[in-house]
């Protein structure tokens, strides 16, 4: 079975897996990294959203071989030790989560959005596709704005 080496949350990992196995299952079933969630398997719900070289992506639709040599960051790798990322802080401040299942993906999406667009408008935030079945959208919006304000120079 082929092996694949990539950087996962700051550490180099090598894993045996078929080339076409979606990274989500490599993370969850082989590496025990369960922050990225399965919600649809087809890139629609975006509960698994993580970062590939700093850009948001959906590990459920990305083959592990395409991650070879790249840097993967999941929700587990977002904080700097015990110091939370400002977006995580904003999520807590705004008490965004209800069931919490989609929130790793929501947070990773928001972090990527803020990297691209440091001061997103409502229209920018409207572009987010991640599903939150609990309907925490208004607090997600509020938290993104709060994080943007906090990051502003």
């Amino acid at each position: 079975m082929p092996t694949h080496t990539f950087v996962l949350n700051g550490r180099s990992v090598t894993v045996e897996a078929p080339d076409d196995m979606p990274l989500l299952w490599v993370l969850r079933d082989k590496l025990g990294v369960t922050g990225p969630k399965y919600g649809c398997g087809v890139g629609v719900c975006r509960a698994c959203t993580s970062h590939l070289d700093g850009q948001e992506f959906q590990p459920c639709t990305r083959a592990v071989k395409d991650c070879e040599g790249h840097t993967v960051t999941t929700i587990e790798g977002l904080a700097d030790g015990d110091t939370l990322h400002p977006v995580q802080e904003a999520w807590i401040d705004c008490d965004v989560a209800q069931c919490g299942f989609c929130q790793p993906g929501q947070i990773m999406t928001a972090v990527a959005l803020l990297r691209r667009t440091p001061n997103p408008t409502d229209a920018d935030i409207d572009q987010i596709q991640n599903i939150c079945r609990c309907g925490s959208y208004p607090r997600i919006r509020e938290a993104i704005k709060r994080a943007a304000a906090r990051q502003a120079p």
Partner: protein
């Protein structure tokens, strides 16, 4: 908040060791005794220490001598803590209070077994066989350096529910005497609602709630309910911290394993958790506080009433303090608390009612929270099931020869609902499943599609009672589609079935029924099946049913190994449960400015309520068969009412039995019945030339309802000019002791993409434990309303569900939601009502009404874009 019920508490040392003694029997003659702890089957006694607790109202606390004497008549004398070390027992690791788990067999919130499961069997049987084992167990309980209390709500505790019902009946009678409006009759839910019935059903066991304080200073309330995002664990932690005077960060709320001795008191549903647990949780925490204070007074040799408590410590006037952890062992030995163990009065509250963030927020945002699929249960292998092409179709043939040879595949086994594939990863299991060559027999509704079902629903109605003779009338007919629950976390269950026992981990709203059903399925005694309740990633009613757990048990048995079964999204969308499709026919007659009659005929595809609710209603004293009611009709009668004075209202439910998977969907019948009513209220107001808000306000039966309506009208600027294609809409609903109104603004200038642009809600839920959590619930209900009214539903095409994922089941995304949401929580007005489901009908109605006003249309079929 008051102590209405004469709650009494005793700590463990006063226990008659063998179940309820004569004193208790005399106290509770008509209350069924909790199931006795199993002893002979090798399982540990369940954590029902409350059952062994002598329950005495503090106001009539007998003297110590009396108690000695009375206890002496019981099966065994009270014993002082045994200094001998407890027998060595293998204890499952738990997250918070290890000492507690030793004494009780409690497990942590995920019940993570580690590697303890197999050896535990042997130890358990050695520990609990026969009376000797029981005494040793109790001895150990007594020796545990842990304060444990169980709240009691005795017979007199029927008071909360019945008193509330009586008050409401009186209130209805009083307002019924009001002039100037043709009056409606109060509905059954005005007198006793579903929540009251559930509370009544749970009363006999409500004293079995357990709160522990460990030497480490943690307070753990073992919650016999499920957390699925509704914020229950945070609200309960707040109640504990409040009454204990503990820091909120010192309180844990692990989810209890399935506890069959709780009978009807471990069912999460009906927006009933806070309503049913409010008194027992406060009672337990207040009792614990009294014991801690007493222990400190003894330690310092000062009067107990000179001490106060704050921040998880007892404080003396001279500045000394003792943390609760330091006092836990001594407090466990307190026989008679020296200070009253009564919950606080409303003016003493410092935390309850204050907006508070979730206690698990940090774990959520760091990805640490574990759902069933995240648990690392040893050897539990990823498993998926190939399912029929139509709903409830059956397997005709399967050729697994290719699938079995695929990489990573461990096994292929057949179960009643399909063919399971076990593999090293879910990816391999799914790929092998797709490589199965299966043929299927069509399911029982394979000849039906959405239009056929709608036609059958229309034909199912009873005719209207009152023909419109000389009165004017308005008719309306409404269709609501099937709606999948679609929680973000798909159904997932871990099962480890062995020849003589089974252990399961899943998000269970009804773990006791699940345990019973799975035990029967496996041919095991109920006591041999352990259900670990794991937090769920959303539910909305879905996890009342344990479909995946039952299948996981079947698969684990057939394959002879532990499995982690996951339904794919497609599985859940196509074979999961749905809010039943319904049709509604409403006729209002009116004249001289009055509404004279209001008839509502609801026809729904039969709602599956077979998850323990029927047992609970029977337990509450409802003899459904005697009343000639189906369970669904009883549920309907206990929940559905018209909140307005609209003459003589009648509401009837007709059920269309179809062999499809349905279930309670957040707000159940109200999600359709009350929405249709609210749309008719708008149309009738316009027909009668009245303002929609004023029309409602004049007919609302209580002042609290008027207040929430007034609040949204004022805060939302009801009636403000709107550009063409935009409009406001309102909706009102009350249920489960709560009242709510929504005002939304909707922009339908792009008719294909209507958007709610602003929402204002106001709610009076009696007392909001955590206003921030309540706001979250009301916001979620708003998004539900937007979704089910405008865009999210399920079609049936020749017996199969058309939608397969969120790509075509269009639950709202960020772009469909209002940038501005404003929520007003009205000041406390009484005991807490239910809030989890409250918002859905009113929010849905407000969206529908705004759409109608913005477009000048009369929407009749929902979702509108379908």
């Amino acid at each position: 908040m008051n102590c209405r019920t004469g709650k009494g508490f005793r700590s463990l040392p006063a226990l008659p060791p063998h179940g309820p003694g004569p004193a208790r029997a005399a106290e509770a003659p008509s209350v069924p005794a909790p199931s006795p702890a199993p002893e002979a089957d090798g399982t540990p006694p369940p954590p029902d220490r409350g059952a062994k607790i002598d329950r005495v109202d503090p106001s009539v606390t007998p003297s110590y001598a009396q108690r000695r004497s009375r206890s002496g008549t019981g099966p065994g004398p009270p014993r002082p803590p045994d200094p001998a070390p407890p027998p060595a027992r293998r204890v499952p690791p738990i997250s918070t209070s290890t000492a507690a788990s030793d004494s009780t067999g409690h497990q942590g919130d995920t019940g993570h077994p580690g590697d303890a499961d197999h050896s535990a069997d042997t130890d358990r049987s050695a520990d609990t066989t026969g009376p000797t084992g029981r005494r040793r167990f109790l001895t150990y309980l007594l020796a545990a350096p842990t304060l444990t209390v169980a709240a009691r709500l005795g017979l007199d505790a029927a008071a909360p529910a019945s008193a509330q019902a009586a008050v409401r009946a009186a209130e209805a009678a009083r307002t019924a005497a009001a002039p100037a409006q043709l009056l409606g009759l109060p509905g059954i839910p005005d007198i006793i609602d579903l929540g009251d019935a559930m509370i009544l059903a749970g009363l006999p066991t409500s004293h079995l709630l357990v709160l522990e304080i460990t030497p480490a200073g943690r307070a753990a309330l073992y919650l016999p309910r499920l957390e699925v995002g509704q914020g229950l664990t945070t609200a309960i932690a707040m109640l504990v911290a409040e009454e204990l005077d503990a820091r909120l960060t010192d309180v844990d709320v692990p989810l209890s394993d399935g506890r069959p001795e709780l009978l009807f008191n471990q069912l999460t549903g009906g927006s009933n958790s806070v309503r049913s647990l409010y008194d027992p949780v406060r009672a337990a925490a207040a009792a614990a506080r009294a014991r801690l204070v007493t222990a400190a007074a003894t330690r310092w040799n000062v009067p107990a009433n000179s001490l106060r408590t704050a921040d998880s410590a007892v404080l003396a006037p001279d500045g000394r303090s003792l943390g609760y952890g330091e006092l836990a062992a001594a407090a466990a030995a307190v026989v008679v608390p020296a200070v009253p163990g009564k919950p606080k009065s409303p003016d003493q509250l410092r935390l309850v009612g204050r907006p508070t963030g979730r206690i698990d927020a940090r774990d959520i945002v760091t990805g640490r929270v574990k759902y069933a699929g995240d648990l690392q249960i040893p050897s539990a292998v990823p498993t998926v099931v190939a399912r029929p092409t139509t709903i409830n179709g059956t397997l005709k043939s399967v050729d697994a020869s290719v699938a079995r040879t695929m990489p990573g595949v461990y096994a292929v086994v057949q179960i009643p609902s399909g063919v399971a594939v076990l593999a090293e990863t879910f990816d391999q299991a799914i790929k092998a499943r797709d490589a199965l060559r299966t043929t299927w027999n069509p399911g029982p509704v394979a000849n039906l599609s959405t239009g056929d079902i709608q036609a059958r629903l229309r034909a199912a109605h009873a005719p209207f009672l009152l023909p419109p003779l000389l009165t004017e009338y308005l008719d309306g007919e409404f269709d609501f589609a099937f709606v999948n629950h679609a929680p973000m976390e798909v159904l997932t269950a871990v099962a480890d079935v062995r020849p003589n026992r089974a252990e399961l981990w899943f998000a269970a709203q009804s773990p006791i029924i699940a345990q019973q059903t799975i035990a029967a399925e496996l041919g095991l005694p109920q006591s041999a099946v352990t259900v670990h309740v794991v937090r769920g990633g959303g539910s909305f009613g879905r996890r009342l049913f344990f479909d995946a757990a039952l299948e996981a048990a079947q698969i684990s048995k057939a394959a002879g190994r532990p499995v982690k079964l996951m339904w794919t999204r497609n599985d859940d969308m196509r074979h999961g449960r749905m809010r039943p499709a319904s049709h509604h026919r409403i006729r209002a007659t009116y004249g001289l400015g009055q509404v004279l009659t209001w008839e509502h005929r609801a026809a729904t595809v039969k709602t599956d309520l077979g998850h323990g609710l029927g047992e609970a209603l029977t337990g509450a004293g409802f003899n459904l068969s005697l009343a000639g009611l189906s369970l669904a009709q009883a549920f309907f009668l206990l929940t559905e009412k018209n909140p307005y004075n609209v003459g003589i209202p009648t509401q009837l439910l007709a059920e269309l039995p179809l062999d499809v998977h349905t279930g309670s969907w957040r707000s159940v019948y109200s999600g359709m019945v009350r929405v249709a009513d609210e749309i008719m209220m708008d149309e009738l107001a316009r027909r009668m030339g009245q303002d929609e808000v004023a029309f409602r306000r004049a007919r609302l039966r209580d002042a609290a309802g008027q207040a929430v309506l007034d609040t949204v009208a004022r805060a939302g600027g009801w009636g403000r000019p709107m550009p063409p294609g935009q409009a406001q809409g309102v909706g009102y609903h009350d249920e489960n002791g709560g009242r709510v109104a929504y005002l939304v603004e909707l922009d339908a200038s792009d008719r294909a993409n209507p958007r709610v642009t602003r929402a204002v809600a106001a709610a009076d839920v009696g007392r909001a434990i955590n206003p921030r959590g309540l706001e979250a619930q009301l916001t979620g209900a708003l998004i539900d309303g937007i979704s089910v009214i405008l865009q999210a539903g399920n079609h049936i095409d020749n017996g199969a569900v058309r939608e397969g994922s969120y790509a075509d089941f269009l639950y709202a995304r960020q772009r469909n939601t209002p940038p501005s949401v404003e929520i007003h929580i009205l000041p406390p007005s009484g005991a807490p009502g239910g809030a989890g489901e409250l918002g859905v009908p009113a929010a849905s109605a407000a969206v529908a009404n705004a759409y109608a006003r913005a477009t000048g249309t009369s929407p009749r079929s929902f979702p509108i874009h379908f």
